[in-house]
Symmetry: C2
Subunit: 144 residues, 2 copies
């Protein structure tokens, strides 16, 4: 977890003005272990910052993403989800509820590089799909 001063330094290094709103969005995201959507972040922040606008959350996430400070997880649930962890890692996505879980496994970080004609590959991510613990339990119950 980064201290507020570290965050401040990070923004300065990127030469991007640090506003209260940006700090709030970034801290909220780093403080969470789920992968909230823009809307979900907005809902959480609204309590502490009643004047915050949803558009600002969107713009801030976009900015942070361009700066490489947050990662974007494209979920099948149409709504983009964000992740404060930008280091290489992978995800397990629940097909039922859309829940996303982080996976850290160095064995997945280096994969055989495939032959994609002419493609200049800069990275990869592995998406596991299936059912999360609670949805698997529900599915088990209802099918019996």
């Amino acid at each position: 977890m980064k201290t507020r001063e570290e965050v401040r330094a990070l923004f300065r290094a990127k030469k991007v003005p640090l506003t209260h709103q940006r700090l709030a969005v970034y801290e909220e995201l780093t403080g969470r272990k789920d992968h909230p959507s823009a809307e979900a972040l907005y809902a959480s922040l609204k309590k502490a910052y009643p004047s915050l606008s949803l558009a600002t959350v969107y713009k801030t996430l976009q900015t942070l993403h361009e700066l490489g400070m947050v990662a974007r997880v494209d979920s099948p649930a149409a709504q983009a989800r964000y992740d404060a962890i930008v280091e290489t890692h992978h995800h397990a996505v629940c097909a039922a509820c859309g829940d996303i879980q982080d996976l850290f496994d160095p064995r997945l970080d280096r994969l055989p590089s495939p032959s994609a004609k002419g493609f200049q590959i800069s990275g990869h991510s592995v998406h596991f799909h299936g059912l999360c613990a609670s949805c698997a339990k529900k599915a088990g119950r209802s099918s019996k």
Copy 2:
């Protein structure tokens, strides 16, 4: 490439009425090597089937997806892209133009199964990201 009779049998096996529209959408998709969006398919089909509705293309793709007859590739370009290949394979996605390329590499089909607490994993897919041949060329030119 499936014959029309094979396609017909496939639909019958799934107990889904085979309409002209469904056949057209499915054949168009299997006949293409790119990963068209609903809109792109609609544009192609409109010439041969002027009365076809975009809503029908969406519904048909959804139906085919539920039946496991087509795969859905969630692209970062907001628009969902479809793939007639449902066998396990992976993708390279161009960060610049959104182009998606199929990758077949059995080494990627069996990955070490990660420890996702309680997650019941049913499959996975690997997304490589980078620049496709033509975008890489363009990027090289403009940065010099």
